[in-house]
Symmetry: C2
Subunit: 248 residues, 2 copies
């Protein structure tokens, strides 16, 4: 998602342990001071719903720690995850009053929230933050469209490999490393959540995870901790050369 890149100095926003991606790194000092004045924290337990589709939403927020999912459902209960919020990801829609999807915490979750009204005022006063927000939204749009390619055209195995590549890449970038060679990370998703993201059933996810393990593409410690012996090999399995550049 790349703002003006990964943090290279200590975070500035009060006591937040993260750098808010909505803010331009070049001019962060003043704006973060402004943001600081209107922010508050909310925490959620694993499994709790942050907001339901259609609900009034009077804040925008950054994920501080934890993982949340965006999901949509059909009446008969079929559900599709349409986005994944990892630490430093932004959530919110300036100019909108209602949430378009369900947002659910899949781990314990801490969010740094900003009341929408003052945040919007801040936006109109500081056009370069508005511009930054447009860029982030365009990134999200690219990610969503990349995901459409996955959902429409990839095999189950490729889907799993793509998801692992993305989460692994994202995890590496949190540690300021480019993903390559050996990689290990926790996958904060149940098999069912993975299935909902990939448009599969949980059984198929489980089978393909087993297959990737059998073929030496990944190793598993317990159910959630994934070890990738060779990131490039995983990318090959993902079926495209985009190297998971989206959703970063």
């Amino acid at each position: 998602m790349s703002l003006h890149e990964v943090p290279t100095v200590a975070p500035k926003c009060g006591d937040c342990p993260i750098r808010h991606r909505a803010v331009c790194a070049r001019c962060e000092v003043d704006e973060l001071a402004l943001l600081d004045a209107i922010k508050y924290y909310r925490s959620f337990e694993a499994g709790q719903t942050v907001i339901w589709a259609g609900d009034r939403m009077d804040f925008v927020a950054s994920v501080v720690t934890g993982v949340a999912t965006l999901t949509q459902t059909l009446e008969d209960g079929r559900t599709q995850m349409v986005g994944l919020l990892l630490p430093s990801d932004f959530m919110g829609r300036p100019g909108r009053t209602n949430a378009p999807y369900n947002v659910t915490a899949t781990t314990d979750l801490l969010m740094c929230c900003f009341r929408k009204k003052p945040f919007e005022e801040l936006l109109s006063k500081t056009p370069h933050i508005a511009q930054r927000l447009l860029e982030m939204t365009l990134d999200e749009l690219d990610a969503a469209r990349e995901w459409m390619l996955l959902l429409g055209r990839k095999t189950a195995r490729e889907k799993i490999a793509s998801l692992l590549a993305i989460v692994g890449r994202r995890d590496a970038s949190l540690n300021l490393r480019a993903p390559s060679g050996r990689l290990a990370f926790d996958l904060a998703l149940t098999r069912e959540a993975m299935a909902d993201y990939l448009g599969l059933t949980l059984e198929t996810v489980s089978r393909q995870m087993s297959a990737l393990k059998r073929d030496g593409v990944i190793e598993l410690e317990g159910k959630r901790h994934v070890i990738v012996p060779d990131y490039d090999l995983l990318l090959d399995e993902a079926g495209d050369d985009s190297d998971g550049g989206f959703l970063v």
Copy 2:
């Protein structure tokens, strides 16, 4: 996509037959005059490529007439359409230099283009246009995510019905009508293009079109002209109650 709604007065931008969605209807007079100064037209024949993924892109544009598609492909040729541009739709990415997907004309196509540099200057001078653009991008994001639900969880029949509902709805709104009851429109897509949009094969599309016809949900005149005797029935087949509110 709904700016401050469907045109109710004559278009203002010079000789353009359409209202540019990037411009706020409330304040259009001044901005359209500005836009008028930096615009030019380009036309494409059916089948021609407007721009290739990765190419430098030094303009943004509105579709005046015709239909274009946004597609992504894997190396082995599997392709997925990730967006559809209908008249009045906007295409372009302020702040980006390269096109993220292939854009192809599926009919003869006329675009009203604006050179990117002056357009971006206009944006920074008129924050409410920037805000309008953010809203439009959020709409596109919603549409993409709605499409993810379709790709990941709907059956072939539901996919076809959803596509027809959306195109039909969009066509009706061009004529300032709410879609209901009987509807007739031209589907400017080949069976293959429909398949690429829906993540299916062209044979499956053809079979499901035949099935919908056999079941009286649609009638066909020739290959492309679709008659929907009862729009609500079509919506039922689409499998959700979102009523195709996206991509409008």
